[in-house]
């Protein structure tokens, strides 16, 4: 039992790692996609922007796929319920995610203005939309989602999808997520781009970083008034993984700050996030894009850890049947499964990080527009 609890906690942390990896790496590419039409005034500049992330976007995208797979295996009930209740936004996200790889590969293969302009729009939509949805998903989960389960484990949705698309707090989180992505993408364009391209990227990135900071602070104040979730009965963290028949849960405004009041050290997490956004923007202003990129990564980690720290152990609370809220304790895989997966993660995550680093080292350096345009194989 003790081991099972430890595995559940480790996988909750690993979920955070995966979401951070996804946000940083995919967010960067999405940011470049969003900025493409704004930082690139000429076709050469746009192709250069794409070439900057060209060798890496595919690998980065796997963070997203791995995130899906890991949630599926480590928290099956969370995967089954969240993907289905958020159906409309998930499908939109999916459309964006499949449009993007095709846009990369096809855009520059035909030299026609309308062809390329269409794919540039595809980059904008498939970059901005997923980041807004990614952030808004956090915003929705923080407010609780309307669902309940039948005896056999099937979920039933109790709310219209319109609410998930258009609710003010979720939109704030969505815009903040997009702002951080623009920041991260802009920083990368500064690292490997030159001239006007880098100068324009810097303006957008700094604006993105500062906007994210403002929204982060507003969100922090807002959360005081949003109904969070708390257990009103004692919980056995080693409980079998089923949302049925669990302890009672209540909703109370400001409850998401309970963890912070109980463990003041947690305040370091939002502080880290805010420092990342502010420090990163200053670093970009001082033309230190590499430092800025890493501070942007820190901003993401701080933000995601803040949400995780506030909600723990809740993963996806139910606003209509709070006692069936999904938590780290009741939505996880079995101990045997979590153990095997941990083994694979321990071996392969360091390998992945090292070859990703190697790939970036091999391709490092400024991207020269002249070679990009001359190269038939380039994006």
């Amino acid at each position: 039992m003790e081991l099972y609890i430890a595995l559940k906690i480790i996988w909750a942390l690993l979920l955070g790692v995966l979401l951070s990896g996804l946000a940083i790496m995919v967010g960067m590419d999405m940011g470049v996609g969003t900025l493409l039409r704004f930082v690139g005034k000429t076709d050469a500049e746009r192709r250069t922007s794409l070439a900057i992330i060209g060798p890496h976007w595919d690998g980065n995208q796997v963070w997203f796929i791995l995130g899906g797979g890991a949630i599926f295996a480590a928290f099956p009930t969370l995967y089954a319920t969240s993907f289905s209740t958020f159906y409309v936004v998930m499908i939109l996200l999916l459309f964006a995610m499949i449009l993007r790889p095709v846009a990369f590969e096809y855009r520059s293969k035909v030299d026609a203005r309308h062809w390329r302009a269409s794919w540039d729009w595809a980059f904008l939509v498939s970059g901005a939309l997923p980041m807004i949805i990614f952030g808004a998903a956090f915003g929705n989960v923080l407010q609780g989602v309307g669902f309940h389960f039948s005896w056999d484990g099937q979920y039933y949705q109790d709310e219209s999808f319109i609410w998930y698309l258009l609710n003010p707090f979720a939109l704030l989180c969505g815009v903040m997520s997009l702002a951080l992505a623009v920041y991260q993408g802009g920083a990368m364009l500064m690292i490997r781009g030159m001239g006007d391209l880098a100068a324009r990227a810097r303006r957008f990135a700094v604006a993105g970083g500062l906007l994210a900071l403002v929204l982060f602070v507003i969100g922090g104040v807002w959360i005081e008034f949003i109904k969070g979730f708390v257990f009103t009965q004692s919980v056995d963290p080693g409980m079998p993984a089923t949302p049925l028949g669990g302890p009672a849960v209540a909703m109370r405004a400001g409850a998401w700050l309970d963890n912070f009041h109980a463990h003041p050290l947690l305040w370091l997490l939002p502080a880290l996030g805010a420092c990342g956004m502010l420090g990163g923007s200053l670093a970009l202003l001082a033309r230190k894009p590499v430092l800025g990129w890493w501070l942007g990564a820190l901003a993401w980690i701080g933000t995601i850890a803040t949400v995780g720290g506030a909600m723990f152990p809740f993963l996806m609370p139910s606003s209509t049947t709070p006692a069936q809220s999904l938590t780290v304790w009741n939505a996880s895989g079995s101990a045997y499964n979590l153990g095997w997966m941990l083994g694979f993660a321990v071996v392969f995550v360091p390998i992945i990080v090292s070859y990703t680093g190697w790939a970036f080292r091999v391709m490092k350096g400024k991207v020269n527009p002249a070679t990009v345009v001359a190269d038939d194989h380039s994006y």
Binding site: P76, T81, Y87, I91, S108, Q154, Y336, M363
Partner: protein, 538 residues
């Protein structure tokens, strides 16, 4: 209440998106190894022509790869978005190979493919070759884990149903990974990919040879592809035979439908149906031609054994359903009360619980407790009928796949023979056949998928969870929204993909599709950075 329309639309969407995705996967699997082979020759001999070959086929690989990766995302999402009950029921064991696939294979494939396309000038020859091999190995490793996941749907080995959590729980990693079905299917599927890649290269090379373009280049490409393809096709057939035997043991309903066996086949003389028109509604053949003394040795590799037919399987299903209904009623009662007596009753009928789920659809209000003794025979009959996959679809998709496979052996054999004798140009018919055959291996792969997955019906997890029970509880509006979106987006993709494929294939190696234009004079000096002019490639 489960809405049958939503289940059917979910099935339609999954089938369309999976078949669509599967158009691109075989080429990725096959071309990656052909690229590795060509680049190996380049690194060993140092001849530029082999680098040109690698670059040219690599570009076509890239066009195909992007859309393959993109449409693969759909599959990973759809379990959660459309098959919520399935995901809940098997996520603990089915999600694991998918997660491991990401960790072990997909990351590697996708990271190194970037270096493969863009790292030519930045890596040494051997390092680039290693990168190409890693891409090929990783994409095959990826197929391995996906097919291990699929193997679990066909033969749920390594997990046990847990009544407390109401799901299959992972019990044995080795049983999951070394499931014979998964292993045989992995080799069968990945080699089918090599056949597709080989036919692709051979067919396009034949096009150049017929037009007397790039002759040296095309002749060499043709030879590599023909040999690779011949060996692969022979291997595919062997593994397919192994899979057939596996179905004999593990999925009798699939095998019976594949062979159109209404009556059990007893003894060596039972005919193998070469041609038949199975009528599912009347449960007999409208017409059939059989060859005696072929079926039993072909399927079972022995003379004296009985292969159960559909009538016998339906009788067995009725007995299981009676027991399964008791299992589900006990399970529901245990879920509500945690009463040990209910658990004991469930345990007695546990292994038939899938048939209880299957019967739910035919019970009044989909409630098993509402089945009266008077209604029972009708429920049993409908459940038994539902336990058999569509025979017509299964029979013909299997035969089309096998027929195409045999045809490929002929095309590759003639191609290899004349290519080795350097007499290809005297036999334009062989080259025309190769050209026309380009899409056929992919078609065969699609029919293979239909054979495997239609034959698995009515289950998502064979014998444990019916497809009807697996879908998310959506409204029809959601399904129409996503289906319309997929159809629009995927039509756009296939049009763009085919346009580019034809365009680049026609252009041939060493020619530029997009003529480089001189850059307009930059507003600020691009080369203004110190040291830049000396190293323009950085």
């Amino acid at each position: 209440m489960i809405d049958p329309t939503v289940v059917n639309l979910s099935r339609l969407q999954f089938a369309l998106t999976a078949l669509y995705h599967f158009q691109f996967v075989p080429l990725t699997l096959g071309l990656s190894f052909i690229l590795a082979a060509m680049e190996t020759v380049y690194v060993i001999t140092g001849k530029q022509i082999y680098k040109d070959m690698t670059l040219f086929w690599g570009k076509l690989f890239g066009i195909n790869f992007a859309i393959g990766v993109a449409t693969g995302l759909t599959m990973e999402f759809e379990f959660g978005t459309n098959w919520s009950m399935y995901s809940h029921f098997v996520g603990d064991v089915f999600g694991t190979p998918l997660a491991i696939e990401g960790l072990m294979a997909f990351f590697m494939e996708s990271t190194f493919v970037g270096l493969m396309f863009f790292g030519w000038d930045r890596l040494s020859k051997p390092a680039h070759l290693a990168v190409t091999y890693i891409v090929a190995l990783a994409s095959n490793l990826s197929a391995l884990w996906i097919l291990i996941a699929n193997g679990f749907m066909q033969d749920p080995a390594g997990a046990r149903f847990d009544p407390t959590t109401m799901r299959m729980q992972f019990k044995s990693f080795s049983a999951l990974v070394f499931s014979p079905d998964a292993q045989a299917k992995f080799v069968h599927t990945s080699i089918a990919g090599y056949v597709s890649g080989a036919m692709f290269v051979m067919g396009i090379s034949a096009y150049y040879l017929l037009r007397k373009q790039h002759r040296e280049f095309a002749a060499r490409s043709f030879r590599i592809a023909a040999l690779f393809g011949l060996i692969s096709t022979l291997a595919v057939v062997t593994l397919g035979d192994a899979l057939g035997r596996m179905d004999d043991l593990l999925q009798p309903t699939k095998l019976a439908a594949m062979e159109g066996l209404w009556h059990s086949a007893k003894g060596p003389a039972a005919p193998w149906k070469l041609f038949a028109l199975p009528d599912d509604a009347k449960q007999r053949d409208a017409f059939s031609i059989g060859i005696p003394y072929v079926l039993t040795p072909l399927v079972a590799h022995e003379w004296n054994t009985t292969i159960p037919g559909i009538y016998a399987l339906e009788r067995a299903a009725k007995a299981k359903t009676v027991s399964g209904i008791k299992a589900i009623i006990a399970l529901k009662s245990f879920g509500a009360s945690h009463d040990p007596a209910a658990l004991a009753a469930f345990r007695k009928h546990e292994n038939d619980m899938g048939y209880g789920f299957l019967a739910q659809r035919y019970a009044p209000d989909q409630n098993l407790s509402a089945i009266t003794p008077a209604l029972l025979p009708a429920v049993l009959a409908k459940t038994a009928r539902a336990s058999i996959p569509n025979v017509f679809v299964e029979f013909w998709s299997f035969r089309i796949m096998v027929g195409l496979g045999v045809a490929f052996i002929v095309v590759f054999a003639f191609g290899a023979y004349y290519s080795l004798k350097n007499e290809l140009e005297k036999h334009p018919l062989v080259m025309k056949a190769a050209m026309l055959a380009i899409p056929l291996p992919i078609l065969a792969c699609e029919f293979g998928w239909v054979t495997a997955e239609n034959g698995r019906q009515p289950w998502t997890v064979y014998g444990w969870l019916p497809t009807f029970q697996s879908a998310s509880s959506h409204g029809i509006g959601y399904m129409i929204f996503s289906l319309v979106g997929f159809v629009l987006l995927y039509s756009l993709f296939i049009a763009a993909e085919l346009y580019l494929m034809f365009k680049y294939a026609r252009l041939g190696p060493g020619e530029h599709a997009v003529q480089p234009k001189p850059l307009p004079v930059p507003a600020r000096p691009v080369f203004g950075q110190p040291g830049y002019a000396n190293k323009p490639w950085q």
